[in-house]
């Protein structure tokens, strides 16, 4: 009994605590409004906390079920496909560019999802592989005139090789060591790019990267960019879809669920982890090549830790290990902030808050992965 009253006490003390700690930053008015606001929130959540969180997930389920019913209809499917394919014909330039940007992140998030969602390895400096792809194309095209479409596989392979090199020493370690080593690698990459002036151009980056062209035909309209990245995303999605249903995909899932058990079943754990890590890096490399070809100018500030966090959030918010979830997560995290342009100042503040609230009420993501029915 005493314990319970104690808990109620601390619960109602929380608004006062919040008011006190924000006082140096927001002065009296701010502190009082924080106290009143959080107190009101507390009272509301007292009545609605249980129903709210279940309703949220139920509604989501119902929404998804309706969507699934709708999309199982052939006509709807064809219509949807046409709408996606013909987007450049009816969408104005600016929204189209945002969708293209979002698709770059879809590719990145799919790559990271192989590592985090499917294999269960935590990588925090993923954007470094994106940088490897981007700088590979930027350097090879400005120095040797390499064609964009040839650079795509080269960027993928070089990022995958770098991934292999980074992963090799740490894959034998358990737990969060991969997280910290990839984090460190991401920082090293950014700092080296920032300071190695003779090769990377330092903080100014590399200018005048050629746009994609194909046998003399320039492919530089917003529509062309959209179709190129859409093709890359589609190829990536097919690859992941196939690989998840293969022996490799099952090995990854086994490692994610229980590494020790997987190893005792004869799965070469280190080899499969390295494969996942370098394949994910390869996805990021392709995304990087496309990014460089689209922007024609890259600099180290595009490859900060915040970008890595962004991609990780896309994977987790969308639903780890679920292809549809990752796509939705990436689209949401790029397109939502664009809609919030008016509140640009508060954008990152709201983003931080969204992450906390989202994890509180739906830690499994928007569209959680469903285990495939067929195991063998």
């Amino acid at each position: 009994m005493k314990r319970q009253s104690n808990e109620v006490m601390t619960k109602y003390l929380l608004p006062i605590l919040l008011g006190v700690i924000v006082f140096p930053f927001l002065s009296w008015q701010g502190a009082i409004s924080v106290i009143v606001g959080s107190f009101l929130l507390l009272i509301i959540s007292r009545f609605r906390s249980v129903t709210f969180s279940t309703k949220l997930s139920l509604q989501n389920h119902r929404l998804i079920r309706t969507l699934q019913r709708l999309t199982s209809d052939k006509r709807v499917r064809i219509g949807l496909l046409l709408a996606i394919l013909l987007m450049p014909l009816y969408l104005p330039r600016f929204p189209l560019e945002i969708v293209t940007l979002a698709l770059i992140y879809v590719l990145l998030a799919m790559g990271l999802d192989i590592v985090v969602g499917l294999t269960g390895l935590l990588a925090l400096g993923f954007i470094a592989f994106y940088a490897v792809g981007a700088y590979t194309y930027a350097l090879l095209s400005t120095q040797f005139g390499l064609n964009f479409f040839l650079a795509l596989p080269i960027g993928a392979v070089s990022a995958a090789l770098v991934g292999l090199l980074v992963g090799l020493p740490v894959m034998r370690l358990k737990g969060d060591y991969l997280a910290i080593v990839t984090l460190g690698f991401g920082e090293i990459t950014r700092i080296v790019l920032n300071n190695w002036d003779s090769v990377s151009g330092g903080p100014n980056g590399i200018l005048g990267i050629p746009r994609p062209h194909f046998f003399g035909v320039k492919l530089a309209s917003p529509g062309a960019y959209y179709w190129i990245i859409l093709t890359l995303v589609a190829l990536g999605a097919i690859l992941i879809y196939r690989i998840v249903r293969s022996k490799t995909g099952r090995a990854w899932e086994a490692i994610r669920e229980d590494e020790l058990a997987a190893a005792s079943c004869g799965i070469p754990v280190v080899r499969y982890k390295l494969l996942a890590f370098s394949l994910g890096a390869g996805f990021a490399g392709v995304a990087g090549v496309f990014f460089a070809g689209r922007m024609t100018h890259i600099s180290p500030e595009s490859f900060t830790f915040l970008e890595s966090v962004m991609v990780l959030c896309m994977v987790v918010l969308g639903g780890m290990g679920s292809l549809l979830g990752v796509v939705i997560g990436a689209l949401a995290l790029i397109i939502l902030p664009e809609l919030l342009r008016e509140a640009a100042l508060y954008r990152m503040l709201l983003f931080g808050l969204l992450l906390i609230v989202m994890m509180r009420y739906r830690p499994q993501g928007l569209v959680p992965a469903r285990r495939s029915e067929r195991f063998f």
Binding site: V20, G30, V316, L353, L355
Partner: protein, 300 residues
């Protein structure tokens, strides 16, 4: 020159060690990389500036600077404890059973939130930390030691000794060690894991705030993004020493500080932030558990 570099490294190491302790204590109990910890350090530094800003310049000049600095350190620690406890309650406690990635994401979210909160509340410009010591410094032979450096070299080891004593000798320390080993068993033995976790966050936050205020007085300016770099370095220090291990975090902090000072002084200052991570990767290659961490045998 060599002695001066060692001194600079020690000062830096003291700061990293203080912040790293917070990382390692939380990790030891919750297996959570508390990314918002660097932000608590930054908030501590700001609270120090704000508290001193409430005093008039005449008053600051007339009072003993050691007293003023201690007051700022204590005040900032109290506020930082509040932030740490609120963070634990709002962002981490509801997710205690939600797997390992969910709290990591909220930690990243909290870090982004706090950084932007401070930036929006106080503006993006650097804040000047009042010059309490009026540039006082000592010449010891060919060594040049400034007053804030002395303050760091005295305060940080003091707090480390106090913390070690607390963990080794007090009931709370015993409860912390027990909860870190096995939370379930600890609660069966009558300890309250929730209370222990709150205490852990409070202690870690206070230490981070101490580091924040001292660094503020050392560099003379404070800005909203200092938490990111310092937090990342401190986390590296914690892993370097063996994460979850308190003496390891201190050792890791000192090693990191000295390596960084030497790297910046003798090799290249542009790459000063690289040395920390290169060292970390090298050490993990040779000694996977960190300098003082032992490899725990896997349970089947």
């Amino acid at each position: 020159m060599l002695a001066q570099q060692i001194l600079n490294g020690l000062v830096l190491g003291c700061v990293y060690a203080l912040i790293a302790l917070g990382y390692t204590m939380v990790y030891g109990i919750l297996q959570l990389i508390n990314f918002a910890h660097g932000e608590i350090y930054m908030i501590g530094a700001f609270v120090g500036v704000i508290l001193l800003g409430w005093l008039s310049a005449d008053f600051i000049n007339s009072v003993n600077p050691v007293f003023l600095l201690s007051a700022a350190v204590i005040g900032a620690s109290l506020f930082a404890i509040g932030w740490g406890v609120a963070l634990e309650k709002l962002a981490y406690r509801p997710l205690r059973r939600a797997g390992r990635l969910a709290p990591l994401i909220t930690a990243l979210g909290a870090s982004i939130f706090l950084q932007n909160f401070v930036m929006l509340a106080l503006g993006a410009r650097e804040k000047v930390f009042p010059d309490l010591f009026h540039g006082a410094s000592w010449e010891l032979g060919f060594l040049h030691v400034s007053a804030p450096q002395t303050a760091i070299l005295v305060t940080a080891p003091l707090f480390m000794i106090l913390l070690t004593l607390m963990v080794k000798r007090t009931k709370l320390g015993l409860a912390m060690r027990a909860t870190a080993q096995d939370p379930m068993m600890a609660s069966l033995c009558g300890m309250r894991p929730d209370a222990v976790i709150v205490a852990t966050f409070a202690i870690g936050s206070a230490l981070a705030a101490v580091a924040g205020v001292l660094v503020g007085s050392l560099y003379g300016v404070v800005s909203f993004y200092i938490g990111y770099q310092a937090g990342m370095k401190a986390f590296t220090a914690a892993v370097l020493g063996g994460i979850g291990n308190l003496p390891g975090a201190m050792l890791g902090g000192f090693v990191l500080g000295i390596v960084e000072a030497f790297g910046a002084g003798y090799i290249s200052s542009e790459y000063k932030d690289v040395w920390a991570f290169v060292l970390l990767i090298l050490i993990l290659l040779v000694k996977p558990g960190g300098l003082l961490g032992e490899r725990v045998a896997e349970k089947v």
